[in-house]
Symmetry: C2
Subunit: 390 residues, 2 copies
């Protein structure tokens, strides 16, 4: 039910093939010093780096580079970035990359002027921000995480074996994000489909809760149907602008808090997936795909009505002459077939999970409430085992 | 197709039964002087006025009242409001009411410090705002127009027989809006269903354009299905919180620019409906309901694929063994049945349209491009005539 909530999302989106021009609108709003954040250097190969640098120069900015942001940005990297931001007196942090680069930039933005340890304050203790925040802008090169239009920021502490996400408020959301679907064309297929399933999982984690009549569920069904259709096109033709643009826009709306309104969520697929990630270093989206079908088959009896609705509304399952269980199950079968067509990893063994890891994975899995079933430790082990056999 | 666009919507929404408390968060952000704008006084009968005034006092505000905003706010009223806003040195305009009160408040916000005639500058010439803007906040008491989360503002000049809407930019959008579904409970049934169809029409005006694969269409199908379901509940039980809250939230998202992305629109149902309104002073939503089915049957052959999709995805029409025309037509029949169940006006004669008005209505109808058919003058007359016979 749409109970009491606040919706606030001030991020300005520039979308489309010409969207980089948005920098000319935005850059003059900030001071001279820009901290340019990016990852391993793919933006130098595909030319985006040169285009961005050229506009920064045109706008008279003094640029300090903070490169080498890793897929799971570490707390050590964060400390270095904070020093760079302070030393360069950054007036704006410009993130050019995917979700990790955006997440990291938001972490630096709240941490640079934090007078205690930001890892402890913002990630371990989840405290609110009460210090100066450096504004962040994003040029997105990958669709999936939704970080371009939310306050989320995941940071990893490898020594403590902790990977923690803090969802900050609207004061930490990017001031602007540039979304050019063409920038996603060059992504390797494996990364593209992992991102696709990350998007689908974001929607499903919110969809599979509640038994009420909530507008958010109807909107999510629309987003899912559009995602399924566009992903089948994009996987065969990665340069199909229409498909890639739909996917990029769906990724943003899957996790910018709109469809979360009125929903309780346990994010349990992410919880199990992240535990597998911690033990195997496997790609995030693939850990989600490997456990999703076993997980959903496991909880289906506890949310049967919703799984039936999912089958009919999203996967066009005909209900005629079938029991609720048959309808719901057929929906998951169609989802599985779709996932196999895309080429997603369905078996946890392929991610490096071995039987001796099962106890450890169960230890690392956070058990949340808000979904159709609060998992037991045995449930988690059974789900991962099923994934290893599918 | 999702081409180049900018999405920016900074309005902060406080939603739910306790949402009025959001005033405690927002009021301290502005100076002492508040211009309180409302309509004919229903907020005094239902107690909302007292609640708002009490919070304004608690927050130490000096309140100037601007009441009597009419359903179609006039330019004369606007001039008076501008003087009140200037004389009281308003730091914030607080609109308490429905779409007209919100529209009018935005008009005052951009016009109070306009050094030429605001009617000419902002409505006749549609110029951009280059003067001081007084921030606006809304407490919504009616669901329908979406004015609570967009830059739209419609003002009427009765002497010039002109009713013009200007969609201002994100700098004019309300800074915050309070959406309490309970406030809509006391609305008379006729106004409620007129508002319901206004919402549906906003979505359909955007939906029926284009032949591409656009995520916005999928989202709109979700919004339509949720609206149809919740409206059938609310019309029988006006105090069903779940239904009224879904309706209020759908109204906001139908017209806050999200679902417009990638869509061309002609808003032709509104164009004909507004022409009828100019000649009969009929309720806006009822002018839309009276012409919608004749209009859509008229343009159906030019957008057959979309009407077929609409029938299947929104109205659950089974396509088995039917021609495209039969499927599409059955969708419109189901829509008509739904409209009659709600109790909407289907026949323009009931709104006071007489045969001698037909030429005048055609004269007053703006013909727009962007839909499936650019109407001729004869088309408009035929559509209104069909409405008079249905």
């Amino acid at each position: 039910m749409l109970g009491n909530f606040v919706y606030s999302n001030p991020t300005k989106i520039y979308f489309g093939e010409d969207s980089l021009k948005g920098l000319y609108e935005e850059l003059p709003k900030y001071g001279k010093n820009v901290l340019l954040v990016y990852g391993g250097g793919s933006i130098k190969k595909n030319g985006i780096y040169d285009k961005v640098m050229s506009i920064l120069e045109e706008c008279g900015k003094a640029v300090t580079e903070d490169s080498g942001v890793m897929p799971n940005p570490t707390v050590q990297k964060l400390y270095e970035g904070c020093k760079l931001a302070r030393d360069s007196k950054a007036d704006l942090i410009l993130a050019v990359g995917g979700g990790s680069v955006c997440d990291y930039s938001k972490a630096v933005s709240v941490s640079a002027y934090c007078d205690t340890d930001p890892w402890e304050k913002y990630y371990l203790k989840m405290e609110d921000v009460d210090n100066r925040i450096i504004p962040v802008g994003c040029v997105l090169t990958m669709a999936g995480t939704g970080s371009e239009m939310n306050g989320g920021s995941v940071i990893t502490n490898p020594e403590q074996k902790l990977k923690i996400g803090h969802v900050f408020g609207d004061n930490v959301m990017p001031k602007f994000s540039i979304l050019n679907p063409v920038y996603t064309y060059t992504l390797p297929k494996k990364q593209m489909i992992a991102g696709l399933f990350d998007i689908m999982s974001h929607i499903l984690e919110q969809y599979f809760s509640g038994t009420d009549d909530n507008t958010s569920d109807y909107v999510m069904e629309g987003l899912l149907k559009s995602l399924i259709h566009s992903s089948e096109v994009a996987v065969n033709n990665p340069t199909d602008y229409e498909a890639r643009s739909n996917i990029m826009w769906i990724a943003t709306w899957a996790l910018n808090t709109f469809v979360a309104k009125g929903k309780t969520t346990d994010w349990e697929v992410h919880m199990i997936g992240q535990a597998i990630g911690a033990h195997t270093d496997a790609t995030h989206g693939m850990t989600l795909s490997a456990v999703s079908i076993p997980y959903y088959r496991h909880i289906m009896p506890y949310g049967l009505e919703k799984f039936k609705r999912y089958a009919i509304n999203v996967w066009n399952v005909s209900p005629d002459g079938k029991s609720d269980e048959e309808i719901a199950s057929e929906g998951l079968t169609k989802m599985e077939e779709y996932m196999r067509r895309l080429g997603l990893v369905m078996n946890a063994s392929e991610l490096g999970v071995t039987p001796d890891m099962l106890e450890g994975i169960a230890d690392s899995t956070l058990i949340m409430t808000g979904g159709y079933k609060i998992l037991s430790r045995e449930d988690v082990i059974a789900i991962v085992k099923e994934s290893m056999n599918q």
